[in-house]
Every structure is written in structure tokens, then in C-alpha cells.
């Protein structure tokens, strides 16, 4: 199954539970098999199957709860105040755990766009197809997501300094 391990990793990040992630991946694969005839050869298979996984997640109880609790698009998460980058300290000292913790704290729509861009290395066009939103929305959401991530890392680094 193409992208099996990546889909599982993405599912775990979305849903935060390994057992639920297995069910989500399994369900995604079933849906993909059932709907494979609707997949158009030559179009982006990766974006297609990630979209199935994401839509399945969003319609699950966990997904509905996660999206229902989202703040508005202008999330009031802290932004770094200056170019001083305390996150660089964390990148060296507590890099992985700090980043993982920040990612887990992000609202689901921010987390997924960062995962698709930075982890899966999808182009904006692919992300647009996977999320079913226009490219402009992908770009603005990614920008806000990264600001939020930097804000969380800044807040975490200030906690470390204290």
C-alpha cells in the first residue's frame, strides 16, 4: 500500500492515539479501495489519499470534536515579539520534544497544514488538493500556523529560561 507508513504517522499526529490512528488508516484504505474507480489516473494520488484520510478523520467523533473546538482563523496564539529567536536555543537543547509538544498544541487545521508542508513536503498545489481549499488559503493558513508555532516555541523557551 503506497504511503502506508506516512499515512499512519499523519493519522497519529491528527488523532493523538495509536489505536484510533490504526482504525483511521484502515478506514482510509477501505474507502480508497471502494472509490479507486473514481481516482483519475495521472492526477495526484498522494493528495487524493490524504484527502480521504482527512475527510474520514473530520467526520469521526474525534475529528468533529477537534474542529468544533477550534478558535477563529485569527488565532490569538502568541507571536514572537522580535527577531530575537529563543526557539533557536530550543532547537539545539530541546529541539525535538519542544517541536513535538508545540505541534500537538496547535489547532488541528494549523497542525495538518504544517505536517503536509514540512513533513510530507507537499507542494502548495498538493496541499490545496488534499485539504480541498484554494491555494491562497493554504498559503495564508500555513503562514499563520508557523507564526503560531513560533509563538508556542517562544513561550516554551521563556518557560525554560525561568
Amino acid at each position: 500500500m503506497p504511503y502506508f507508513a506516512q499515512l499512519y504517522n499523519f493519522a497519529c499526529w491528527l488523532i493523538g492515539d495509536r489505536v484510533a490512528a490504526e482504525d483511521l488508516v484502515q478506514e482510509t484504505m477501505l474507502k480508497a479501495l471502494r472509490g479507486f474507480s473514481s481516482y483519475q489516473q495521472g492526477t495526484n494520488f498522494r493528495a487524493w489519499i490524504y484527502r480521504i484520510l482527512r475527510n474520514t478523520f473530520l467526520t469521526s467523533q474525534t475529528g468533529l470534536k477537534a474542529t468544533a473546538s477550534l478558535d477563529s482563523e485569527d488565532d490569538a496564539l502568541p507571536e514572537p515579539a522580535t527577531l530575537e529567536t529563543p526557539e533557536s536555543i530550543l532547537l539545539v537543547r530541546h529541539e525535538q520534544s519542544a517541536i513535538r509538544s508545540a505541534l500537538e498544541s496547535l489547532p488541528i487545521d494549523f497542525r495538518e497544514v504544517i505536517l503536509l508542508s514540512d513533513v510530507e513536503e507537499m507542494s502548495y498545489q498538493e496541499i490545496s488538493q488534499a485539504l480541498g481549499v484554494p491555494m491562497g488559503t493554504v498559503m495564508s493558513r500555513l503562514s499563520r500556523a508557523r507564526k503560531a508555532m513560533r509563538g508556542l516555541l517562544t513561550a516554551a523557551s521563556e518557560g525554560v529560561k525561568r
Binding site: 504517522n9 484510533a20 472509490g35
Partner: protein, 252 residues
């Protein structure tokens, strides 16, 4: 261009999506502006660090791998109970599909279409920004789609009807662009999908006039070369009434 303007576009630069025709300009600015160059470097480092921290963070267990390889369902209680079809049915379906059964293809297309419509509707309702153009005025909503769709459609006057237009957005259904309008009927919301009717199951007339999927009512109607699909938890009578208004609005 100011530093602030460049910085707003640095994400596209680190994502290799910066317009090539402007790349020289940006790189020239980065050469002479240490502050923006540092900002670009920090963003790039964070991008790489995110990949290192999050990629392959969770690996599927060997038990899960082998279960998937065997195509067998889990014995655990599942979160997505209604969507599950037993392993044997999957195996049978795959065999039928491999044998090229048109019945299976038709059924799979239809089920996939219904499921995708419901997914789009639910995702819209769950979104903090359900529509991209927010207006109750059809003369605002319809023009918003100009240049975004390869076809045009009409919207009915809903003022003296039990329905209210809430807005619309562009969607992709079956890999083609279409309009999704959101209407209210009392406290229920109805998604109206207006699509070009040139997909296989639409032309063959096999798409059901009404159906139920995961508790949602779906109605389908056609007008000229447009396919109009409505999805909601509202009662089928109300959905049908709105479908008729939409269909009538397409008449010349």
C-alpha cells in the same frame, strides 16, 4: 518593497514556491538585509527541525502491518463503525473490481460520490469559516463565482421562501470544480452543490434522485448540463422544495 512585505512572502521562499520571476529581487534583498536573511534562515531551520521531529515519529506496528497486508479487520471496537465493511466483503469487492464488473464500478462510484458529498457537507459545517463568500444576497454570491468556475448558474430569489442563502464557496468534487452554496431552512443547513453534469454516472442517469447516507438526506436533480445536489439533515420534503426552486431558476 519593504522588509515587512518581503517577510510575508518568506514562507513561499523556504517552501520553494516563490514566483521565479521575482526570485532574483528577493535574493538581492536577502543579500543586503541581514535582518530578513536571518529571518529566512530561522524559518528554514524550523522547517527542517519540524520534519526531523515529526516525520516517522509514529511507525505502524508489525501486527498492524500484517493485518493490513492480510486485508483483515481489527477485532477491536472501531471508531468508525458504520463505515466498516467486513474483510470478506472487501476481498470480494476487490475481486469483482479486478474482474472489471461494471456493476461494481457503478456501485463504487455512486457510494463514493454519496460519501464524498456528505464529507464535504459535514466538513463545511464543522469549519470555522464554512463559506468563502458570506451573503444572503444572490446578486453578491453568484458574481463571486465568476472566473472561478468553467460554467455559470442562476440562483432563485429566496426572499419569500422558507429558505435563506448564507453564502458559497468553491469546491472540488470528482476532481472538477463546482459551487457549494449554504442555505438555511429553519435551524437546518443545506449544502447545495452545483456541478457540471458530465461525469459518467450523471450522464447515464444512474445517480439516485434521492438517497440517504450516514443519516443525511441527499437529493439530486438536473437542469440542462448542470447537476444540482443537495445534502442536509433537514427533512426530504424541504430539501426537495429547495431543489425545485434551484432547478426552476436555471430555466431560460
Amino acid at each position: 518593497m519593504t522588509c515587512d512585505t518581503w517577510r510575508e512572502r518568506l514562507d513561499a521562499y523556504i517552501d520553494d514556491s516563490f514566483p521565479p520571476e521575482e526570485l532574483n529581487q528577493l535574493e538581492e534583498h536577502l543579500r543586503v538585509c541581514p535582518s530578513c536573511a536571518a529571518e529566512a534562515l530561522h524559518r528554514l531551520k524550523l522547517k527542517h527541525a519540524t520534519k526531523a521531529a515529526a516525520a516517522a515519529r509514529f511507525a505502524p506496528s508489525s501486527e498492524f502491518r500484517s493485518r493490513i497486508a492480510q486485508g483483515m479487520p481489527s477485532r477491536r471496537k472501531r471508531l468508525f463503525g458504520d463505515l466498516w465493511i467486513p474483510g470478506l466483503a472487501v476481498a470480494a469487492a476487490i475481486l469483482i473490481a479486478l474482474a472489471g464488473s461494471s456493476v461494481w464500478e457503478w456501485h463504487a462510484q455512486r457510494q463514493q460520490a454519496l460519501a464524498e458529498l456528505v464529507d464535504l457537507h459535514v466538513t463545511t459545517l464543522a469549519s470555522v469559516n464554512p463559506v468563502d463568500v458570506i451573503s444572503t444576497d444572490r446578486h453578491t454570491v453568484k458574481p463571486w463565482f465568476q472566473g472561478k468556475l468553467p460554467f455559470s448558474f442562476n440562483l432563485p430569489e429566496l426572499e419569500n421562501s422558507p429558505f435563506r442563502l448564507l453564502g458559497g464557496k468553491l469546491v472540488y468534487f470528482n476532481h472538477a470544480p463546482g459551487a457549494q452554496l449554504l442555505c438555511a431552512s429553519g435551524k437546518h443547513q443545506i449544502s447545495v452543490f452545483i456541478l457540471q453534469g458530465d461525469w459518467k454516472f450523471a450522464l447515464s442517469g444512474t445517480f439516485p434522485a434521492s438517497a440517504r447516507e450516514k443519516g443525511f438526506n441527499i437529493e439530486s436533480t438536473r437542469s440542462a448540463d448542470l447537476r444540482i445536489l443537495l445534502v442536509s439533515d433537514a427533512n426530504p420534503g424541504d430539501i426537495h422544495e429547495l431543489a425545485e426552486l434551484l432547478k426552476a431558476a436555471q430555466q431560460p
